[in-house]
């Protein structure tokens, strides 16, 4: 029962969040300068017939409240409009690119999470001031580097100078499918800042765990420091990382816009960049909405995972359930 109300509340707040984003999109559309039809489809010339069609579809000649309802109705029925430049429904256009974006964001998420957890855990072991200072400096430096500049530097080194890795696109002209060499530079540039950030949080979490009594017990049993870290420290210190990793998906998605632009990676981010250049606001807003939905779904999953891995939360659920 407790579990049920918890998830009902979570679902409610997630839906509210999506609603707020839709409201923000509508407000932006209202505030956008210039002709409302042009604000929707971009700076291309439109025919009179198309103009009338848009006016009816978006209720542009009706009062504000009705305009919002028309807008909301369109979105709820999955109709995000038509991309004028691509002659394709916006939803199909975005969904066609979502896979490519996930192809770099998911490996980047895995790399930053695994790397951050390992480096953070190892960094927590040191007692030397110099080493400690160096590690925290490197972590801050890691998330102070603009991801797109890092991407440019990597291209200059590995593509232009050394010629080891390709710098543009998803695969070479001759082949189709997933090409690993093309993935490496985008994934690394996308992951570094998050990796540094996660390592920092993991380190502080680990230091806290290493101060607990049960670690002293383990040490008094004669376990070595690596053994303690692995068997008693790692899993406990990783608990706060669950929500950090959950939130980091949103930031990695956001970062993909910049990184995709540098590498000409044909994902959602590059589509967003191109649509901004053409001021195709329907596509721009569609991408915001789809990103929001992806982030919200991952958030719900994070919450579920958190409940599964933390025995204390699991226990609370069972106790509550038992009491009723």
């Amino acid at each position: 029962m407790y579990l049920l109300t918890h998830y009902a509340r979570l679902l409610g707040s997630s839906l509210l969040l999506v609603f707020v984003v839709i409201l923000v999109m509508f407000m932006l559309l209202e505030l956008a300068p210039g002709d409302p039809v042009q604000a929707l489809v971009g700076s291309m010339p439109v025919t009179e017939a198309f103009r009338e069609q848009m006016t009816i579809a978006y209720g542009l000649d009706r009062p504000l409240g009705e305009r919002f309802l028309a807008y909301l109705g369109n979105i709820l029925t999955g109709n995000l409009g038509e991309s004028f430049a691509n002659k394709q429904p916006v939803i199909d256009l975005i969904m066609g690119r979502l896979g490519n974006t996930l192809l770099i964001t998911i490996p980047a998420l895995v790399l930053s999470s695994v790397g951050g957890i390992l480096l953070g855990a190892l960094a927590a072991r040191t007692r030397s001031r110099v080493k400690d200072g160096t590690i925290s400096f490197l972590a801050v430096a890691g998330f102070s580097i603009p991801s797109f500049w890092l991407a440019l530097l990597l291209i200059m080194l590995f593509s232009v100078q050394l010629g080891w890795l390709p710098s543009q696109g998803m695969n070479s002209f001759t082949s189709n499918g997933i090409s690993v060499p093309h993935l490496i530079l985008p994934v690394v540039s996308l992951a570094l800042a998050e990796l540094a950030f996660k390592a920092r949080i993991m380190r502080s979490s680990m230091i806290e765990v290493l101060g607990q009594d049960y670690i002293d017990t383990a040490r008094s049993k004669g376990l070595g420091s690596m053994e303690i870290l692995r068997r008693h420290g790692l899993l406990n210190a990783m608990l706060p990382m669950v929500s950090v990793i959950g939130y980091s998906l949103g930031y990695t998605l956001a970062g993909s816009v910049l990184v995709e632009k540098v590498f000409g990676w044909p994902g959602m981010g590059l589509l967003l960049y191109d649509s901004i250049q053409r001021s195709e606001n329907l596509v721009v807003m569609g991408i915001l909405l789809i990103m929001t939905i992806v982030i919200v779904i991952v958030n719900i999953l994070t919450d579920v995972v958190y409940g599964l891995v933390d025995p204390r939360i699991r226990a609370r659920f069972t106790i509550q359930r038992g009491a009723r």
Binding site: L17, V20, V21, V24, M25, L28, L29, L31, A32, P33, A39, D132, S136, F137, V140, A141, F143, S144, I145, P146, S147, F148, W149, L152, L153, I155, M156, V160, R200, R203, S204, I207, E208, Y247, G250, Y251, L253, A254, G255, V257, L258, K261, V262, L272, Y273, I276, Q277, S279, N281, V284, M285, I287, L288, M291, T292, I295, V296, N299
Partner: protein, 292 residues
Amino acid sequence: MAIRTRAKSRTESGQAALRTPVQQFLRLPSTAFFLALIVLMAAFCFIGPLFSASPTDTSFDVLKAPDATNLAGTDSLGRDLLSRMMVGGQISLFVGLAVGFICMTLAVIIGGLAGFYGGVVDTLLTKVAEFFQVIPPIILALVSIAMLGASLPIIITILSITMWPQVARIVRAECMRVRELGFVESSRAAGFRPLRILWSDVLPNAFAPVLVATTMTVGRAILLESGLAFLGLGDANTPSWGALLNGAQAYMQTAWWLTLFPGVAIFVIVLAANMLGDRLNDSLNPALSRVK
């Protein structure tokens, strides 16, 4: 001589307990370094143009590698990159400082009220902060600025709107902590009005964490602005560091200096702001300095 040094060090350690966080902060060796770095960068951007070539004068020396006359080389129109970086840096620094200042002001007012009074303001702030924790500021900023048009006032406004809740959350938490302390109790017992207690007792004691959060906000704002400018969403009149990098991508094969130097400038200023915030945080919680 030796005796004098020892006597001096004894007084110093005797005073250590009395030192305020700000004094401790200023004593850390790297603090001076990063503070100096920021001052130096500001001088480079705002005083530098007085002594350098015009950032808009074109010449026939296009894409010239760094040498004695053009210390950072020239761009595809033969303009001096160093001068362009000075002028562009003014935009980056101005945006960072303006956003930091607006965020701090909003955060102190709203976070202060929320933390001190609780109630509706508190619920609202918590919800808004949660919203911006889930939806990354850069996505919202990107879409909003793309739709409203990129100009300096709009960029500053949008970045402030998306970034203030994180600072406000910290002010709120601090005010909630401080309002339970003994001296606030005694102010209350003395019959002072709540707003006066908030202003003269609670906020000054919450000041230090606000400073940390604001410093970091300045760094993050500069980073976000450079990302936006890199995507072509910067102020059109003066290309900031991010916009310079946008123009550099086409010449990566031949003109490495166009990519290297503006990026170094962004990196150095953001790093300095973040390190200052970090050090400040250390000196505020010496007990926690290893735990962060």
